[in-house]
């Protein structure tokens, strides 16, 4: 049972590699979510409040990115950028692709949430004399963020799954590490299942955490 060729043994042997892969997956996903959310917030704000030129340009960016498979984005950011003299490591290139992908989702999502707020909210805020930045900060943003939260949690889980695509450009994240282990011991069923289980657990944790936050910020009625 604990000899070479047995799953527990092989797992023990490759434990550090798996942990390292897991670490990379978590790191790249978390960075992509954080940076993508920051960029996406700007995207959403421009889509709602920007002048028409900036709105038009950002709209093209969003539609273009969302119309492109993430896989293609990953390949493009790794291979195309080096063609024009921008040398990124595989990790950086992969992260860039994920951030861009994430920003369009967050941006669209925020736009939808802001536009779904009743016009009366802005009007009531105007009526008591608030300026636009105040209206946004105290009235619109708190409501829009609550609305956008479930979709944002969903985007976060998507980012973890999309990070597997970084394996094709050689980022040693969980999936690529798993493949390497399998190429050594040929236990594809066991180790792919293990990888799948780990991805599930990460996303499940994100989902649960999201639900908990949703419950915390829910408005009493």
């Amino acid at each position: 049972m604990f000899e070479q060729g047995d799953f527990p043994y092989e797992l023990w042997v490759s434990r550090w590699a798996i942990l390292q892969g897991l670490g990379t997956t978590v790191l790249v996903s978390a960075l992509a979510i954080v940076l993508g959310t920051i960029l996406g917030t700007f995207v959403g704000l421009v889509l709602v409040y920007g002048r028409w030129v900036s709105r038009f340009l950002v709209r093209i960016y969003v539609d273009f990115v969302r119309g492109t498979p993430v896989f293609v984005l990953v390949l493009a950011s790794f291979y195309l950028l080096s063609q024009i003299g921008i040398q990124l490591t595989a990790f950086q290139a992969g992260l860039l692709a994920l951030v861009i992908f994430c920003s369009t989702h967050v941006g669209e999502n925020l736009r939808g949430a802001l536009l779904s707020l009743p016009r009366g909210q802005t009007e009531a805020a105007k009526a008591i004399g608030l300026t636009f930045p105040q209206i946004f900060a105290y009235v619109l943003a708190p409501q829009a963020l609550r609305q956008a939260l479930p979709a944002w949690v969903n985007t976060a889980t998507e980012m973890v799954k999309a990070s597997t695509l970084l394996s094709v450009i050689g980022v040693l994240e969980l999936l690529l590490v798993t493949k390497q282990i399998i190429s050594r011991n040929f236990m594809s069923l066991e180790f792919y299942f293990l990888a799948g289980l780990i991805y599930f657990l990460i996303d499940y944790a994100i989902e649960r955490a999201g639900k908990a936050v949703e419950r915390r910020v829910a408005l009493p009625s």
Partner: protein, 253 residues
Amino acid sequence: MAQPILKIENLHKKFKDIEVLKGVDLSLETGDVVSIIGSSGSGKTTLLRCVNMLEEFHQGRILIDNEEIGYSGPQRKARKETEIARQRAMTGMVFQQFNLFPHMTALRNVTLGLTKVKKLPAAEANAIAEKWLARVGLSDRRDHYPGQLSGGQQQRVAIARAVAMNPKVMLFDEVTSALDPELVNEVLNVIKDLTNDGMTMLLVTHEMKFAFEVSDRVVFMNQGRIEEEGPPEDLFRSPKSQRLAEFLKSSKF
């Protein structure tokens, strides 16, 4: 004659090509309670929204306490956003749909303008808000969210939110139209009570009996113009214009 607190001169307003206000003149002195009645589409809500600059207007002037609002000078130069925000605070508006901020407690709904616009310290803002919530009969609901309040209670909080800012003129836009019939009176009673303070009010309403009881003057609007204006007794008992007579006949009074 005293200076009017609100003066509307030759107000014109278009939506695209349709002229909804075709030259409205109206003036209120401090303490006046004026009700605007008329069928839907007559421009009464639009008139109110112009006074609060929720709508732009294309000709004419609106002066509040002798200050021209929204625009300045004969060129009608639009005022800056911050200027407009300050001028908006000179009027208080209560909406048909309440428009309370759903993510804030009743108290916070009232204090928001006090702390952010008037920059009052929190303790002072809370005291003012509590005073007004008591006045509308909702002291025990101060920590409730709008979702936990009935329509009538929400509208009373909305009234407290507006009057707490101590505006020069209060605007009421069909404030009972979205309420269940049994909740209408609690809101009307609050407004009636506020008229005792000498508050200047401009109300758009479909409640004819209420308009008759509280108003110093009643204005009948028809197709973007003021068709008839006068004390409620004259307008309701002996309308001069044919249209007003027809309107009164078709509305329950």
